[in-house]
């Protein structure tokens, strides 16, 4: 018993406590119920630990093993914040937990995510109430990322935005006298090239963004949905870059009429099932610039399968649908799942392997970052080839010839747009693994939001073949 007590004491004596408080950067008020994650640097033999702050924003992480760590706070509506960061949104500094039971007291300030506020005005400067407003990313591929409705004064607010450039756009629709207005970018642009993008940074609310909808003709589309016979049924959904609506549903031949359609690209998705539950569907994308009549949209049989993965065992395939009105939530491809016709994207989780190729109908699938686009029709042929023979870029991060521990290192594949972020260990050594052959830029800095204005530029590293290890030491860049 005495031996057990001594052993327990010895173990406890080597485990420290990390504690602190999370505060709102704007008001200084404590942030209750915030997630705080203690992440060990490479070389520190410990697991990541996540706790929630208490009612007064305080957190305590017990039994922390000695080593070097980074503390990170996350909370809805706020930009993730790290202990020791020079500004909200930037990487923080690592700290050491010694075996003297004190891990220090850490105060992390969190900044609200960005927001855009404005008003949708009519021709006389009167706010239009209950009007749809959409927000798009300006970087390619341009996607709708949020939408809201104006209040009784015609004012809107779109919050929880990352730092970046956005396009703000009012939706199409009829006014009180049945005249119609087109979807209009801020300030009064029907065409994207005439729009005024809005730049916001974390912690900021950009106010007084004005949109003045432009009058114009909205279009009509009519025809027949060819659904399976009763008790089978199908629905026809009209998707534009300002939203979606179901325009027909039922069994057999279902006539439909949809009005108030913004001229431009539209998507039509048919999905349903026949009497015995077999899935059917179809997908049509077209550009509409005049009223369309007598269109026919069938619900065709969908064949199962068609997405294959090889090279590495038991790697899930992650899917998301990408329609004109934005991305769907992601999900893992189910065993018997048949993605209904339309535009989809897939990815695989990162690991000690890399994606050697993703081929759609025998051609490379278009890639943007970690995502590969493919079309799902009544059948699909997508083949993912993984390789466990991944490359590595590693080296030492230095500042004036001294190694920098815990330095954030940003690795970017310039061919694919994929990014990796790693930290150097207590000896300043970093290692980015799971890389494919290609051209990379590598940079280390604690001021990553100013990467364009760094005193030095990122280094370019070429990985020529699978499994290659490239050594590249880095100088920590400072503004």
């Amino acid at each position: 018993m005495r031996f057990l007590a001594i052993l327990l004491f010895a173990v406890c004596a080597r485990a420290a406590v990390v504690e602190g408080v999370i505060l709102d950067d704007e008001t200084g008020n404590p942030l209750a119920r915030t997630n705080v994650t203690l992440t060990p640097l490479p070389g520190t033999p410990a697991q990541s630990v996540t706790v929630r702050t208490g009612a007064r924003g305080a957190f305590v992480i017990l039994s922390v093993r000695t080593g070097w760590y980074v503390l990170r706070a996350t909370r809805r509506g706020y930009a993730p914040a790290e202990d020791g960061a020079s500004k909200p949104g930037r990487p923080g500094h690592a700290f050491e937990v010694a075996d003297d039971r004190t891990g220090g007291f850490h105060e992390i300030h969190m900044a609200h995510l960005a927001a855009i506020m404005g008003t949708v005005f009519d021709e006389n400067g009167i706010g239009i109430p209950n009007w749809q407003v959409h927000l798009y990313t300006t970087r390619k591929p341009m996607r709708r990322v949020a939408s809201t409705t104006t209040d009784d004064r015609g004012e809107f607010r779109l919050g929880e935005l990352d730092t970046g450039n956005y396009e703000v756009r009012s939706g199409p629709g009829p006014l009180e006298d049945k005249t119609t207005v087109l979807a209009t970018y801020s300030q009064a642009a029907v065409e994207l090239k005439d729009a005024f993008p809005v730049y916001v940074v974390v912690g900021e609310t950009k106010k007084n963004v004005a949109i003045r909808p432009v009058k114009g003709k909205l279009l009509n589309l009519s025809g027949t949905l060819q659904a399976p016979g009763y008790p089978g049924r199908a629905t026809l959904t009209l998707i534009t870059d300002t939203g979606r609506r179901e325009i027909a549903a039922g069994s057999g031949n279902v006539p439909f009429t949809a009005s108030g359609i913004q001229p431009g690209p539209i998507e039509l998705v048919v999905s349903g099932g026949n009497a015995i539950g077999a899935l059917c569907g179809s997908f049509i994308d077209l550009k509409i610039d005049k009223d369309e009549f007598n269109r026919t949209y069938p619900c065709s049989f969908i064949s199962p399968g068609g997405i294959q993965i090889s090279g590495v065992q038991q790697v899930p395939i992650i899917l998301r649908r990408v329609d004109l009105d934005g991305e769907s939530d992601v999900h893992a491809l189910g065993r018997d799942e048949m993605p209904i016709p339309g535009h989809w994207e897939l990815t695989v989780p990162r690991g000690d392997y890399y994606v050697q190729s993703v081929r759609c109908y025998s051609r490379p699938c278009p890639q943007a970052g970690d995502w590969y686009a493919f079309e799902s029709n009544s059948y699909r042929d997508v083949r993912i080839q993984l390789s466990s023979n991944a490359a590595t870029i590693s080296g030492i991060v230095k500042l004036k010839d001294s190694p920098v521990l815990g330095a954030p290192v940003f690795v970017n594949n310039v061919d694919t747009g994929q990014n990796w972020t790693v930290r150097s260990d207590p000896n300043g050594h970093y290692s980015a693994t799971g890389l494919s052959p290609g051209t990379y830029t590598v940079v280390s800095s604690f001021n990553i939001d100013d990467i364009e204005n760094l005193s030095g530029k990122p280094l370019t590293v070429r990985v020529y073949g699978p499994g290659q290890t490239v050594t590249q030491d880095l100088e920590l860049l400072r503004p």
Binding site: D24, T27, N29, P30, L31, A32, R33, R52, A55, R56, G57, R75, R76, G77, H112, L113, A115, D122, E123, N124, G125, I126, P129, N130, D151, D152, R153, R157, G159, E160, L175, E176, D177
Partner: protein, 484 residues
Amino acid sequence: MKPLAALLALAVSGFSVHVRAATVQGVIFDDETSNPIARSQVTLDPLPGTKTRRATMLADDHGRYVFSSVPPGWYIVRVSRIGFETGEFGQLRPGLPGKPFEVRDDSDDDQLRQILMRRQAAISGSVVDDNNIGIPDWVVSVYTARPPIKRIAEAKTNDRGDFRVGELERGTYIVRAGGGQLEDQSELVPAYYKYGTALSGAEPIFVRLGETAAFTVIHTVAGQLFDLSGQILAPDNRPISIALISDSGRRTISAKAGPFLVSGLAPGTWEILAQGAGCGSYQTILIDRNAFVRVECDALSAPVVTGAGSHPVYARRADLDGPGDELELHGQALAPGPWEFMVRPSSDQYLVSIRNQGDTTPVPLAQDGWFPVQVGTAPQLQVNLSNKPASISGNVTASSMPVTGAPVFLQLLNPVTPELVLQAWEARADVKGHYVFNSLPPGDYRLMSSYELDYDEPVAREKSSTLRLAEGQSAEQPLELLQP
């Protein structure tokens, strides 16, 4: 010469017809910015005694309206638009009655009658946690402060925990944050502005037209929420929806026969409304701990209505979360539960009551003419119309002179609590200052005429006339136009 003379006479006659029809025109402006308001609905309303029909049009893009070919007589121009208080030409300020004007038969009237419209009221504020940090996506409800307290609007907080509820009438309101779970699964119970969970502790908010009552900060209150589990007994295993309704909102789940579980219910009274194809049920339950209910879905029959004659019967649900939309009964089945019914009788009748047949309990008081009725699965509604309506009429004068088109306000008082109003009417005196209210039920009434006083102002109440009407009584009540 004769045909020519006849042609000339016809032309002159045509000309004289033309000049007898005048033009009424003007512009609608926003009171706050002075910007013109496009596409407002403008109504040209003839006073009693002016023999023409009401005309309606939309203002154009520049806020202009033109009524042409207006016959001679006395008129009021009224304008309405979503988000704005109804405006009338000649009103002292938005919210007060406008002044009538005469259209003469001598020529086109080139006077521009401009009307200023004022925004309706709004309440904005935040829902905050213990540390004054705003809570995003949290439901906020607005209730009328005057009994019967009704939930009339709902909003959700934005990313900063801020909310705004607009399009409110001038008046006093109570604001309340809903209950729910926070990120760490800790629970909040519904809380009123400023503090507390009890209605008695709520601080009412008074808002005027054009005003936004800002900084309404609701401090949330920690508490325990409960689970409601149950068993659904639906015929043929048909899909049904179950609405769980409280005075701070409703949640709907889709289900089939079998067990169900709903978590996170705030303590208090909840209504359970089950609806399926051709079936439904309703029950109330007091939640002060985890509870279990059996939910059945009984076959529904359309209401059988007697006594309404040829008058349509109107209905609206009266659930805890506020009145539903008005609908006209056309033989459709109604989901069980609390409803309100109304009939709009002709001028020689008044509506005495609407109730379930065979119900011998005292008839509840109708609010704004709506009679509350608890509807079952096979409702039989008895409408009681009387052919002996009361009426009030008289002349409105100012310094012994009749006031053409004077606005007259009439209120039926609650017999138990006279300071509360059961129903209100508004009419205009005719060209000779004579006003009439027909089709009135017996009761205690208050009435007044004024261009300058809000009816709810204490001075207006003090100066207004009161009288008691028996069934079938025709009362004569002269009114002096009230000045502040």
